[in-house]
Homo-oligomer: 243 residues x 2
């Protein structure tokens, strides 16, 4: 069943805009009477029937949704957009497929080309949500500086998320200990994992993370690109929480 993303859908008549109407009519060759699904990205998936298709609009009749609970535990990733946006977009697509909850882009001391392509990144996530048949769209927070992100961490009432920090070995501090993510990550608990940017965090940044209560972790002895490490975190979180 073909699925569309429709953030503001409700039962009753619903109109798809020009882009999706064109996709439905010209690419999928849908006809009046065909069944499709609409996902609102917040857990509700609606059955719908095509009423009419034109070049600029498609009219659907929408039924009563099935609601899916939000996946738990929740994973938030802090990750610096890469210099080449295609590597970051690749990561967004894969992270959505593999079930990330929230992505916080951060600007770090070594971030180059601080260009936030927010609309494009949102579209990448929505496409991946539809393609992987998820009911929940990952949240994409506006990019902020690392300092602002650290300041925004609220003292948790009760047990907050587990805080993990993935970075490379630091030449200035060769004896800083990093556990493997497999041994460090607690099961069935929300987590927030920060991923070293291209060129890695500076040792001052790593110290700030330490003061904020982050546990340093490693994903193995080899050097992973930023987007590979970020996806590794998502997949490790999935594997360790769904035994």
């Amino acid at each position: 069943m073909r699925r569309f993303y429709a953030p503001n859908v409700a039962p009753g008549p619903h109109s798809l805009g020009a882009d999706e109407a064109r996709h439905l009519g010209q690419v999928l060759r849908a006809r009046p009477g065909d069944a499709v699904e609409l996902a609102d990205g917040r857990g509700a998936v609606f059955p719908a029937e095509v009423v009419s298709i034109g070049k600029r609009e498609a009219l659907l009749h929408v039924g009563v949704p099935t609601c899916f609970p939000s996946p738990t535990p929740e994973l938030t990733l802090w990750v610096a957009p890469t210099k080449h946006t295609d590597r970051f977009e690749w990561f967004l697509e894969k992270a959505c497929e593999c079930g990330v909850t929230r992505i916080q882009p951060i600007w770090t001391a070594r971030s180059e080309r601080r260009v936030e392509k927010r609309e494009r990144w949102q579209r990448t996530l929505a496409e991946a949500m539809k393609q992987s048949r998820r009911a929940w769209l990952p949240e994409l927070a506006p990019a902020v500086s690392l300092d602002a992100a650290l300041s925004s961490l609220e003292p948790a009432e009760g047990e907050g998320p587990w805080l993990g920090l993935a970075h490379c070995p630091v030449p200035e501090h060769p004896n800083w200990v990093r556990q493997s993510i497999q041994s460090a990550l607690p099961q069935q608990r929300d987590a927030l994992i920060a991923i070293g940017p291209e060129g890695d965090f500076t040792s001052e940044e790593i110290e700030s993370f330490g003061s904020a209560g982050f546990t340093p972790v490693t994903f193995g002895e080899h050097r992973l690109r930023t987007e590979t490490a970020a996806l590794f975190a998502v997949q490790a979180f999935h594997i360790l929480n769904h035994p």
Copy 2:
């Protein structure tokens, strides 16, 4: 330390060809006396010193290598090249970073555009090997049909690799049971995992895998693209074998 791939290097004088000489001189701005490393892709990493750099050649003096054992256990992936080669190349890069041993491209009943870009794929793997500072280059087997791949499986003397098959639910056989990769994969044992292509294996193909002794596994309830599933297998193998 900058690392180069040099499959036939030995201690003594060594000449880098035009491409790498240009990279060394114009991109990295190396000068005579600078130190670099050469990896032969089979576990040996050689220290080397730049003797001279020209436009068409760079001359190095190569020292005695450090040898790294091949990573164990070994993971072989059978995976169908995707319709768009960039998705497959992305997978090759990431799989190398994350430690795959061997990749066997296969043509399946639903494979479209059967174009084997072998040289390009080899270059992608070599680049990822250098970038992630690995000493071993993953083996890229020539593409074969699924039938040929299955026929080539030899009856193992003693315990052969564990055989896993990742595919989507099959409408014709809704009750076929698939275990999660986390619960099915034995630890510290070589494995061969076959990944469903775009459009998935046909139910006849899945039956052939079953006759050959493959265990059906799933990577979760959501639909993963072929290249995402293939990388998920590599990362699950890493996490489950390096606790």
